[in-house]
């Protein structure tokens, strides 16, 4: 597992959006969340999530993570189980323990599957990811910074719902 990943070299987020790539939104082991999650920081899912995710930076589904969602992510690492639609801008990595079921939508080739990883899905290429994402009819994405706090991460750590 990658608890301390290097920050991405080229963060193309607009000014003010790139505060702290190290900060995390974490859904812990044992936590179950239904809803809409957006973060400009890394999102790490160790528990269960169902809903919609917009990861302006990176989404990591840990080996214990179970995610059923529509996702848009700049980068994603799947070491757990993902089911749904995922639009990826830069790179999608299916780790040996990972399982991806559903549909991958990309503009340029983003897929990387490691030996043992299970990619059971459709992989399509489109010119306009945004249109696809919009067609999911998700709730209007909240602005990345809702409050002028020092850290924009949405901490859902160990929340029991």
């Amino acid at each position: 597992m990658r608890s301390s990943r290097e920050p991405l070299k080229d963060d193309k987020a607009g000014p003010g959006e790139r505060r702290n790539p190290h900060s995390l939104a974490v859904i812990s082991d044992g936590a179950v969340l239904n809803g809409f999650l957006r973060s400009t920081a890394s999102i790490r899912l160790n528990g269960s999530f169902q809903g919609t995710i917009i990861a302006d930076h990176e989404l990591i589904i840990a080996p214990q993570g179970r995610v059923k969602a529509n996702v848009k992510a700049r980068r994603a690492v799947i070491a757990g189980v993902f089911q749904g639609n995922m639009a990826v801008l830069e790179e999608l990595e299916i780790a040996p323990t990972g399982r991806f079921i559903g549909k991958l939508i990309q503009k340029e080739p983003v897929l990387r599957v490691e030996r043992g990883g299970r990619f059971e899905a459709e992989s399509v290429f489109v010119d306009d990811l945004e249109t696809i994402v919009a067609s999911w009819g998700v709730a209007p994405p909240p602005p990345p910074q809702r409050s002028p706090g020092p850290d924009e991460s949405i901490a859902v750590d160990e929340t029991k719902l």
Binding site: V113, G116, E120
Partner: protein, 127 residues
């Protein structure tokens, strides 16, 4: 047209080769490793390994034990053990497996569907 060209030799015997300038259409079956650098259209049964090098262009229904793809492939592919999509590869079509054997290197283009079935022979029966 090499039809049912089979080697009875060891798995690591002389490979079947379709060179860069060759264009083939038909049905190819090989028990030896199969290297395609040219153009092939048709159907392939590779009881060993199929390698499509970067210059290779294959449009076919393929059954292979293992596959290493660096060139362009379009069609359906049944893989028993492992399929590797190299960075220069362009895979367009359907991959059919029983157990996860897909490896995609960064930059490799996999466009299509990856499906898992219990009975590979049944999946091929439609061909």
């Amino acid at each position: 047209m090499p039809k049912d060209k089979a080697y009875n030799g060891e798995a690591a015997g002389v490979p079947t080769v379709i060179g860069e300038d060759a264009v083939l259409e038909g049905i190819l079956r090989s028990t030896a490793p199969l290297h395609i650098s040219g153009t092939f259209k048709g159907r392939i049964i590779a009881e060993n390994e199929i390698v499509i090098s970067a210059s290779g262009r294959v449009e076919a229904k393929v059954k292979a034990r293992r596959a290493v793809l660096a060139g362009h492939f379009a069609g359906d592919m049944v893989v028993l053990e492992e399929i590797e999509i190299a960075p220069t590869c362009r895979f367009l079509g359907t991959l059919i497996q029983k157990e996860p054997g897909l490896i995609v290197a960064k930059g490799g283009r996999f466009e299509g569907r990856s499906v898992f079935v219990d009975d590979l022979d049944k999946a091929m029966a439609e061909w």
